[in-house]
Symmetry: C2
Subunit: 106 residues, 2 copies
Amino acid sequence: MKSNQVVEALSALAQPTRLAIFRLLVVCGPAGMAAGQVAEKLGVSPANMSHHFKTLSHAGLIVARQDGRFIYYSANFAVMNGMLAYMTENCCEGDPDVCDVSVKKC
Amino acid sequence: MKSNQVVEALSALAQPTRLAIFRLLVVCGPAGMAAGQVAEKLGVSPANMSHHFKTLSHAGLIVARQDGRFIYYSANFAVMNGMLAYMTENCCEGDPDVCDVSVKKC
DNA sequence: TAAATTGTTAAACAATTATTAAAACGACAG
DNA sequence: CTGTCGTTTTAATAATTGTTTAACAATTTA
């Protein structure tokens, strides 16, 4: 994963509403959630929500899937994991005892 | 870890220079690296570097330690791990097979 | 004490980002 | 078709962020 992609992903998540969106979608899993439902759940206007979806999509953190009139968004774990890996690359010069860079499995 | 702390940490890392600083310090481990050395290594002016250090420090991602004339900065793994855990909380409704939220141990 | 080194702070400007409101779009039901 | 629902786009404004320059503080060396 390239540096600028990682920065883009971090920027996308570095905003309260978008972080909340992403966390919500992470819990939903691959099934995702309809755009409107996310907006209602978080109390955000549709237009504003759409902008945030666009930002997250462009960063590759979420994926859109149309189903009839609804658009379902879901979290893309591959990009998130790539981002996490990039940040901790070669940490502590390879000594695992010094740092504990692990995330509880879900 | 609270939402606004996580957003602050993500914002701090969502910038090319600061991401590079953090990655450099992650590799250095607890010993850290002198401010000037980091600045030189990344080709950033001292004043600009100082601002970035401040941002990262305030987010808790790095820690400063004075040693004579030099100030050594080092990465704070606890905050980073807290941030990662927050993002993946309750992912996939608890089904570990659906997503693989793990980071290679260093 | 004076000069040199290391790093921080303050102020200003340029650039980016977030939010809102209004208009427009595409999918579907009648 | 026509109307409505769900969502996106456009355009404008407000707020935040990054960089630079110059001045300042702390520590060591002469």
